[in-house]
Symmetry: C2
Subunit: 208 residues, 2 copies
DNA sequence: GCATCTGATTTCGAGTCGAAACTATATCGA
DNA sequence: TCGATATAGTTTCGACTCGAAATCAGATGC
């Protein structure tokens, strides 16, 4: 008792804000997160392993390494190393030496890993998302704002796909055999596929 | 390789859906969840412990027990029991015997627990939420739809506060000393504070 | 009175998680 | 070229989550 009483008083903030307090909304965000977490105990993997496998399957060639994984998942490199080991022992991922840097490791999803990714539990969420219909763009806006808020609060920023990056130049090199787009940072050509991969050097739009 | 290529082709679904695919949105939901998860490694507690402490502090007298906690957090009773033990050893929660049922346990947040709840890391999210301004109600709608989708997918439904329950009768007993509202299930009077507590018998509105 | 049900706990094995120590390679500057 | 330092990754540690299954004790029903 005591704690919850703050929500109810002479000037009820629930009514004042038009139906929903910040605390109530934070709870909803948390509840959604818990729901998604619990959804990911599937096919013998746990949420951390699904997150890692998904990341490795979607990251571009500069980002398929333990450090980038740790940074994306906001975990330490030690923890990332252990989760990779778990995935490796299940035969879903392999470690390969980097061609020039002897310290670096290249992570590759195996055929078994690829086929397991077809059963990604997060896909069960996509059905519900499709029911949002045209509301999907409003939802994206809301989610991006909330993610911004959370990542500002924790000081740890995630990253995204090339297409959403400030360095991305669409159709900059239409006649290049490697792909029509370009990364403004590395000046490399990017194919359509590469443009939708997660990049560790991703730079989000400047915030208001 | 391979996996991400599905997003790019002659008929690009990103453009087709007006800027955001279902997969992309599911990723955002997951990323938000991970961010919130990571925010909750704070003050010596982990996310599971914060979730449990928060729940016990907000649940009503029928719901402050291990079973209801497990059901709310979508974990097994065994896991709930262990997390309670961890909170107990930190002096944040105590177990008390139930007055009539010898098997049942009543969970109570200690004074130390109450003061720790004042530093709930989820509050760091509330600042970001307030910046949504009037968008907060749209956000609530989006979150509720997503939660519905996730809980349908997992088959495990969470529950909420009396005010959001179909059994809740607002101002049904304005002259009762115990409170102006009423629970249509137990027929008990509910004070303003009790109405904003989480109830294990919560019944959400029928879905479309 | 006994079978069954229910609330809660314990035990087990796999694994997350941060922290810190550690290994090995790379890079930079004198 | 050598040494200091930086970087990539791993290992170890202790606390803890998590589901599953076994277990215990009180409640309920016939």
């Amino acid at each position: 008792m005591g704690n919850a009483a703050k929500d109810t008083g002479p000037t009820d903030p629930i009514i004042a804000s038009g139906g929903c307090t910040a605390q109530r909304l934070a709870d909803l965000v948390n509840r959604l997160g818990r729901g998604v977490h619990c959804l990911q105990f599937a096919d013998g993997l746990n949420p951390a392993q699904w997150d890692a496998l998904r990341y490795i399957g979607r990251a571009n060639r500069y980002s398929r390494n333990p450090s980038a994984l740790a940074s994306y998942l906001k975990i330490t490199k030690g923890t990332a190393s252990q989760t990779i080991k778990a995935l490796e022992s299940k035969g879903l991922v392999t470690r390969q030496p980097h061609c020039t840097d002897g310290r670096a490791v290249h992570l590759v999803v195996t055929t078994e890993g690829e086929s397991l990714l077809q059963r990604d539990p997060l896909k069960r969420l996509e059905g519900a998302i499709k029911e949002l219909g045209t509301g999907i763009d409003a939802a994206k806006l809301v989610l991006c704002e909330l993610i911004d808020g959370v990542e500002d609060a924790s000081g740890k920023r995630g990253f995204g796909v090339c297409e959403d990056c400030t360095h991305f130049c669409r159709n900059e090199m239409p006649n290049d055999s490697c792909g029509p787009h370009q990364c403004g940072l590395t000046l490399e050509a990017l194919s359509g596929m590469e443009s939708s991969q997660i990049c560790v050097d991703h730079n989000a739009c400047a915030r208001v």
